[in-house]
Symmetry: C2
Subunit: 544 residues, 2 copies
């Protein structure tokens, strides 16, 4: 039996029309260093129509990819709004990718047009000759003459290209499963992999972002979008803002703690979103020069684990609630959010807030063990997190139809590569990445938990734990310790220090002392190199 | 270009699993007159599985209709949760329908099973012999022997039927456009018309209900569902509660103001939903015996226009915010909600709160004039409200495929039959029903506005305005006035009283005095009968 409901397609064209009319008084503002440039959503609708006409004039049609190479600003928001609305596909290029990756993703996605901020033209000039499918470059707030365009590439000024275009556009309503936008994962191994969001996935995700069990911002909020619009689908902020009628504040290139705090003092946002690194910098700056930031009622933090100490510092010193969230490019990205359950005592509330949080109804989550069996959500069993849902990717983009990395999918579920546990009331705590967790006798030992615990020993400066092959247990943990200058410690003493924090079978018997933990270009522990050193016999290992 | 997103179907089976696990500690409680019967969502999941097994045992499969004839209680919630989850179709019968309508809708929907509250068996016995497709009756909290079952109908006790069934069920995931539930409109003319909700529509609608720009309740809320579960898709409350993890309080048959207030004092709900009539009664009772009801942070009111005086009384005397909402059976039902815009002055805030409110992005709304042209949202132009969206019906249920009332649909839009205006910032104010509005010289005059204004005259007890044919203007208003006892007034004086409140062309020249305004069984003005009296020459009309 079929329903009588209208077969209305969820559409970012509908969303743009809605924002431009029923939420027309709301605004997007961009910080200029000492003030803001502001447009209303009504003006956003008109600008979006002009951009659509302009792109159409450049030959862009349904399904064509339009790239951006931009900071967070009004024009970037306009591209977010208008490109999917006209049926084209937004591809926000991550300006921080390694050069070869940047070139790879733009060519792989076959970007036809790229919109570039004037201030980023010098960087973009390094890549442009290698971008095989780009035919047009549109420069925002800058001089088109600064673009070193190869033959066959035309450069336009945003203002001239849009000016004079009609301020209305007959945005098409497509099948809701049509592509709306793309993002590439920036994995440390192999080529970046593309994820293609749909109108449907972005719509549903936006509904979840504004839900009280998501980020929960409303038309009354003034949302500071620090997370780059080129990062993991912009955390859904542009579409959620348009759907809710929230005002948006864009920091443009002013991302250092000082300028960010200056902007906050002037604009008093009520909600903000950024990765932990940004908030670490802001906190240090605040501690040096205190400032009232209690206008921020909520700050959502994701991208990597949020240190509890940072949550406490913001809450207790500055009255700002940091809300921990988990997600990834493949999940649009909003997965779980750490709203604590109602009515728990304050101490327990913190435990929930430290966790990666609770999933919404639209994101199904389960833990899977090493043998492929689904594990119970008992708060103890540790397994790989698998998710599914209408805004979770089911594959990676493949222009030639050949499956990309099919091992990342398990019978319709996305294998996240994150290892954790889930409590009976649904709260996720991540303990490791699958590639780092130690598989010992059918059980999993978290390398991260061991590292954090060992760091508590007064003699230890750094510690990195990897799994090494073991005939009996498959794998056992090897702890690589960097001692503080001028102190010594014996493996037996360090192991004893861990004894009351772990089950006996989890306690490491293999230890080594190193001068420094090898790190990646972004400062993360490079366990691949540590494993290679072990395999090469380059580490002096003590067995207890 | 297609997206890489998973083709996950929005499914009430997924919702039930989610509620029973990740929101397993939340509760549904039913008032018993002096306490509550409570089950957790975890228990709801187990009960739902048992019900699904039991119904399957009775031969119920995908697409079969299961009726309810029940008050709001735990078992009704269980039917709401489990019947769509197993792929069958829930049809909550409105126990207050006229007998011939009740029989009509149950036969038209071809209900195979009906679940009946023990306390409603005597009423249900009157209908049962006429229900042609019912084969099984399940009695909740009552004696099956009290059901007077015709031959071919088997009666079961809920507890016995479910007891012993497995507490897990392999709920299927269907195409999201599959039928999940049905409701019939109870129009005053013609047969009731069926609306069939889908898994998709109920899911999206639930996301909107819990959105801050919808009803906005959360896991922290304790939601009192006074609106009957058989009324307009239960306003989406069961599914929204399961999605959000809110606790639900069900009043069962205790719907009089006294018992409702007794229940509120004991249970202290934070959120409630009901039609204005209920709140009128509660207010009168409160005024007679004041009681703290400030535990209610929000009360959503819809179904008919909410009198401003009632909003003020609740707010100013009892600190309770009444939130006005508009919708209908055909719209699942949540359309617009009167959250005022941010930052407007308090006086203006009230004007917004009186209105029918703002639409969410998922419900497109427009006004259409008498000539079919779309009107501007300028706060002045008055037209019929048309809506479309993923939870708006696109047709009426037709078992034989023959279109039912196709005039109610306009090129993919639902014609609501409501007449109103929309401000530039998207707020709807309804002024009349299409069948009552007076179409005069291409412009529309609101009969309701005229009635309300004339009621302000000290001599007037009641007034009803209808359109009468006019050679020059098509229609002109005729005012039928009931004077207060012992006073007189002349038409010219009454017209003069209106002169500063309406444009000159809107002022009525036709007047008549009557003893009483004819009313329907539920106390609404019966303009059909008034029009018939006019047509029969039964009214003495004065023309000014």
């Amino acid at each position: 039996m079929l329903s009588t409901m209208q077969d209305e397609q969820l559409s970012l064209a509908t969303l743009l029309r809605y924002a431009a009319t029923f939420q027309g008084d709301s605004t997007v503002s961009t910080w200029t260093g000492d003030g803001v440039r502001t447009i209303t959503y009504r003006e956003l609708g008109a600008l979006g129509a002009q951009l659509a006409h302009a792109l159409r004039g450049l030959g862009i049609g349904v399904g064509d990819r339009v790239g951006t190479f931009m900071w967070n600003n009004n024009e970037h928001m306009c591209v977010y709004a208008a490109v999917p609305a006209m049926g084209a596909v937004l591809h926000a290029l991550n300006i921080r990718l390694f050069p070869e990756q940047l070139v790879y993703v733009a060519n792989h996605a076959e970007d036809r047009v790229v919109v570039v901020d004037g201030s980023l033209v010098p960087m973009f000039n390094q890549y442009l000759p290698a971008l095989r499918t780009v035919r047009d470059v549109i420069v925002v707030n800058g001089d088109p003459a600064t673009v070193q365009a190869p033959e066959g590439v035309t450069v336009h000024a945003w203002g001239e290209l849009l000016g004079g275009q009609p301020t209305e556009y007959d945005f098409p309503i497509l099948d809701e499963r049509s592509a709306a936008g793309m993002c590439y994962t920036s994995g440390t191994t192999g080529d970046p992999k593309g994820v293609v969001y749909s109108h449907r996935s972005n719509w549903l995700h936006a509904m979840q972002v504004i839900s009280p069990n998501g980020m929960g911002f409303t038309a009354a909020d003034h949302v500071l979008a620090i997370v780059p619009l080129f990062h993991a689908n912009a955390w859904g902020l542009p579409y959620a803002a348009m759907m809710s009628g929230a005002d948006v504040l864009m920091p443009d290139r002013f991302l250092q703690p000082g300028p960010l705090l200056q902007m906050m003092a002037a604009q008093r946002p009520t909600f903000a979103a950024a990765v932990p690194t940004i908030w670490g910098g802001v906190l240090a700056q605040l501690d040096a020069a205190p400032q009232d930031i209690a206008h921020l009622r909520t700050v959502v933090v994701g991208g990597s684990a949020l240190p509890p100490a940072m949550m406490h510092a913001f809450q207790e010193k500055y009255g700002v609630r940091l809300l921990h969230a988990w997600g990834m490019t493949e999940t649009s990205p909003l997965g779980s959010v750490s709203h604590p359950p109602t009515g728990v005592p304050v101490e327990e509330e913190w435990e929930y807030r430290y966790s990666q949080g609770l999933f919404p109804a639209s994101v199904r989550a389960r833990l899977v063990g090493d043998d492929g069996a689904v594990l119970p959500n008992d708060g103890k069993a540790v397994g790989e997190l698998e998710v599914r849902g209408p805004w979770i990717t089911g594959s990676y983009y493949s222009p030639d139809g050949k499956e990309v990395d099919p091992d990342k999918f398990d019978d319709g579920w996305l294998r996240t590569g994150d290892v954790g546990k889930i409590t009976p009331n649904g709260y996720l705590t991540l303990v490791d990445r699958t590639k780092d967790v130690i598989k010992s006798g059918g059980e999993w030992i978290s390398s991260v938990d061991l590292e954090n615990a060992i760091l508590g020993h007064p003699a230890v400066a750094e510690a990195s734990v990897i799994g090494i092959p073991d005939a009996k247990w498959d794998e056992r943990p090897l702890v690589a310790v960097v001692l503080k200058e001028g102190v010594t410690a014996e493996p037996a003493e360090l192991r004893e220090f861990l004894a009351d924090k772990f089950a006996k079978w989890q306690l490491p018997e293999y230890w080594t002392f190193i001068d420094e933990v090898p790190k990646t270009s972004v400062g993360k522990f490079d366990k691949k190199r540590l494993r290679a050193r072990y395999a090469d016999g380059d580490l002096e290992v003590v067995k207890l």
